[in-house]
Amino acid sequence: MKPLSTWGSSRNPVKFRIPTSDNLLPIRLDIEIDGQRFRDAFTWNPSDPDSEVVVFAKRTVKDLKLPPAFITQIAQSIQSQLTEFRSYEGQDMYTGERVVPIKLDLRVNHTLIKDQFLWDLNNFESDPEEFARTFCKDMGIEDPEVGPAIAIAIREQLYEIAVQSVASAKESRMIKKGRKGFEHIPISKAGGIAVDLVKSFGNKSSVIRKRKEWDVFEPIVDLLSNEEVDALEATEERNAR
């Protein structure tokens, strides 16, 4: 892990990586073969050798007793997501003073979670897994599959943001060649979602959140009954098609 100054100014490019303490990649699988649908999401360590991909695919298929046609599909999907990640790896990204809101909106088995919170992108020591663990413990969630799902959701969003910042860094470099004043651009392009800390915690306003925002930032955890789960799944499938 490279030691990084956490107050990287917008000028300081940093090598691309997921801004968490461990450089793990979220992978999502959604494969359909012969009417059988396999959906999954997990974290992957990109420094694992590629042989691991096939091994993992085989293991999964065997454990879940899926038809063997899945093996190649799964392996391919993982591999493509990996290469995509690797393609970003060499490049720079800008880390400004960025605190972004992360939204959770997921359903895992019988648990429905809605939440929103602020996350510091500059904090390369952050750990979505730790957050997920604490979340589950605090909210008293009993389903053990929820934790990893939360961690993966967070990671995906961070990944997207990081990707965006890379893209914006590229663009801004191009634009820089053209004209000056590029500093505004990263913020406006990729930072539409960023919260300007200085503005909100400016002079006289207090650090305490305004009352009307409480609802937004409060975590909601719902336990669904079986029928609701079925209904939701049906709507999801319809939407997917």
């Binding site: 461990d22 420094s47 997920a132």
Partner: protein, 527 residues
Amino acid sequence: MGTDNNHHHNNDTTITTTPATLGPNISNNNNNSSSTANNKSPPKPPIKPAEPPTPTTTTTLQPFGSSPNTADSDFISIPSYSRWFSWDNIHQCELRFLPEFFDGRSASKNPKTYKYYRNAIIQRFRDNPSSTPTKKITFTEVRKTIVGDVGSIRRVFDFLEAWGLINYSPSSSSSSSNKAAAAPQQLSHNDNKDSSSSATKSAAAPPPPPPPDAPPSASADNSTTAAAAGGPKKRLCSACKSPCTISCFTSDKHNLTLCARCYVSNNFRVGISSTDFRRVEISDVVKTDWTDKETLHLLEAIMHYGDDWKKVAEHVGGGRSDKDCVARFLKLPFGEQFVGAPESSEMVDNQLTSRGSSFQNKRMRLSPLADASNPILAQAAFLSALAGVEVAEVAAHAAVTALSDFAGVKIKANLKSVPADAKQQDFDVASHGDTAYRMDGALAEAQSELEKEEEDVERALSEIAVQTKELQDKIVHFEELDLQVERESQQLQQLKDLLYVDQLTLLFYKAAAHKSGESMVESIKAE
């Protein structure tokens, strides 16, 4: 490995380790501790010794295997080479096999996360038993619930599986001996972890086991028809899968058949006891049936030769050994010729039951009666038949006298009233109908019980006396303390009063000073 305070496991988890060769279970105590950062809610540990064992699933295909199934509420078995495992510590071999967690190269892979993964996986495995019959967990199940990257989780999982800390059962879908045979071979390759993990994967995470299925079902079929002394059948022992030749033991209750060897070596599940089995003579059933002619010969010979079975066998001819003849003879319904036998057998039976002797193991070689559900009775009947009527009678008589003597001594000591001779005479008289004897025996027992209870009560009383004394001492002590506290509070009160007085005087002076000050000012003003 001692015990512990921890949140997740209230009691000690008993871990049994198996020697890498065969079957079940030796206990070993495990050191528990909270699995760190486990985001599952603490599951109720099914490993409480207090919990009643789950009923044996006899309807499954593997009559013999899955011994942990019934015992799983009390025991988890792990192989002996994995004894180093403990919840809190990380052992040398873990460092060796999974260096990625310990070399500090990556921030997320450190001993703490390793422990978290490992404990979470094992925790999950051990929680499973009540729900799944096979008690194995798959990697995918595990990785869905553990927060972390799948590559490392997979390696930890493989490591644990290779070392038998998870998914290890003497058999889940194969017989115990099969698995046991497979186990030492695959585990001898443990130095090379990769090869072992693939080997264990193929053998230990087995999509099941066709070969053992066939024989158990075959033997199950056989055992159901065993009762009918019909034509010859092939019998396979459900444990060692060897054809039963001479004799085998069938348990209809559990639908099992064991060969004599397995029966003797007690190679069956916890839920079954040795009395559930009855002996079935193969040779008798398989080899030939006794024709009427042969039976006739047999009876003739017995009448002639009495106890000399060799001669009887000769007379019967046709390749019947003397043992065969004896067996056959016993299986015959006892007709009027043998009137004396039932009575004597009864007496002998009583004698034997009251003595509680165990001829069992010795006499098993000779065959008992056809409905030998109670081996002792069978033995008694057999012996009486063998010994002949008068002998049995006399023996019973003597035994009863001897026993009554013994009981009489005891009663004498207790009662001191009735002369022993009279008692003995009573016993002699009552030798045949020994209900009287039984009653006296019961009386003696009751007396001793009474004594014991008296002693217990006395002991309890003395204990109570001691305790009351202690309580009294304590009360006195507390009274003293109380007194002291009161004294001190009084002192405190006095001090408070003094302080109050001081304050008041101060105020007075102040007020006085103030007034004088004022008056001075007034006087100055006036001037």
